[in-house]
Symmetry: D2
Subunit: 172 residues, 4 copies
């Protein structure tokens, strides 16, 4: 959602509302979205600090909507090989400062298909509560973000690397 005027219609058809990185500081939108009582996925702003991100979450919580999921999606950096720079330590920091769940978006963080599997494994290993991964039946034909999308086979292969059982054995 990017427009306060669209919130209601979007909420009617969606199970969860995402606030994108460009709108993390858009407080009227946060409040409007909160009032739908739908779960909200709050992406971290491009260069937002941890504190600013948690304070943005407060705009939603203070409306009585407690279903907020934080999403780390990489911060601005000067890199030739990746789209953004994943701040992986954000996960244990958020775990300490807040009770909110946090997931990682490796697709936007690295922006390149081939680096998504290792970074996804790292995300779970650091304690992320989940992942949001871009998948497309034919990434080369995707209208947007094709270069960071997995096709179905790549996703299946990644998924198998991330099964409950193996993760359980390792990290719990």
């Amino acid at each position: 959602v990017v427009d306060v005027e669209d919130v209601e219609i979007v909420a009617e058809y969606c199970d969860i509302l995402q606030i994108g990185t460009r709108n993390m500081y858009n407080y009227p939108l946060l409040k409007k979205v909160a009032k739908t009582n739908k779960p909200v996925l709050l992406k971290r702003g491009f260069s937002a600090t941890i504190d600013e991100w948690l304070l943005a979450a407060e705009y939603i919580l203070s409306e009585g909507n407690f279903n907020v999921i934080l999403c780390e999606r990489g911060i601005r950096a000067n890199s030739k090989y990746t789209r953004n720079l994943l701040d992986i330590s954000a996960v244990p920091i958020i775990k300490e400062l807040s009770h909110l769940p946090i997931i990682i978006d490796p697709s936007h963080a690295v922006g390149v298909t081939k680096y998504i599997p290792p970074v996804s494994r790292a995300a779970l290993a650091v304690g992320s509560d989940g992942l949001i991964i871009e998948v497309h039946p034919n990434p080369e034909q995707a209208l947007s973000d094709g270069q960071q999308s997995l096709n179905f086979e790549q996703f299946k292969s990644l998924y198998e690397q991330l099964t409950v059982e193996t993760i359980t054995k390792t990290y719990v």
Copy 2:
């Protein structure tokens, strides 16, 4: 090692020579260290790009010393909660561009004891060939870097989370 004049004496007593982040661009030192034929641990410069880091490694390789280990130790960033910002995607990028092994230094990257275990797990999960972790019998009395050192018990606990067998099951 920080001084070219000390290289020989240090090499006489050490099994491996470390080039710290402040000296990654110190090419005469890199060449001098290379000539000892000791393995060299080359830390990434504070804000060095991946390309600059690999080119620094070339100064060592071009002297005929092929025992170079790269070490990602976090880059400069504007964070209240960590000392630096770990660039975890550096591992798969280096794996693609180079044959050199790469390890991660979570101690300098996050700089805070409590965040070192989760970040160490992430480091192995992303494919790091190893870890370099600061340990001190009594971190509160350490002359330097105490706030980022594990004591023996903390290290033992971390080590058990990182055993070969479990990692093998998950990631290979």
Copy 3:
């Protein structure tokens, strides 16, 4: 203005509408503000690129409102002595890429009263079309941004440094 619902009432009483740094990517707000036909002061986002900033301006221009003034107010950086990092080269870059006027906000860029006069002089020297400077009758009592506000006397002194004669006397 931060809320699309407030745009009309604000436009009724103000001569110019400012889009703050947190709202540069708030496209519905940009479009709503554009439609008032009031001049719009568009601040650069915290870590916005030059291209993103100019594209944000396009959201206003494309509604037929051509009275857009760009405002450089410093970008996020890791500095102990200033609040942000003034990107002074943004001025000649914008002058080359666009016909839009650009002004500098030294108050937010440096965030410390004592550094505002020299940075203001530099802003004019680099070709800025103007300055926006925070002034308060009693900065120590200001409800916000007191530490970066000039009092009347400081402003008068700065103003005098920005006239022809004083520039001559000072810099040669």
Copy 4:
């Protein structure tokens, strides 16, 4: 100078020794250069803080060589249009913290010929004690840094903009 072993021979033929950005943290080199008693131009490291820069200067001063000139040459940033990001507020900050003279290197800071004149004017206006500008008789044929070099005519034109009268005419 980049090599401690070259310091003496270089000092024999040069009036001033420059420590480049890659060597700001090279403390043995700083000490060796200090001992020549030649003036030292100490460039700021790629991502060095103001404090680190002043402490690097201390390595020279503490050898009894007080002829240190600091040089701001832009810090690492994510910009498509310039090579680095000039930190112009470094000048008044250094003026407050230290007695050392500070000059600006617009050539490395912006890295593009056309932006050097306006940034040079800003440098003087902010209080810089001088400028270091790359000039080449034929920049297109330069072995290095041609894209940021002025030819003789461009330099003459810039020089004339930096005299009293032109500043008056231009900025008021």
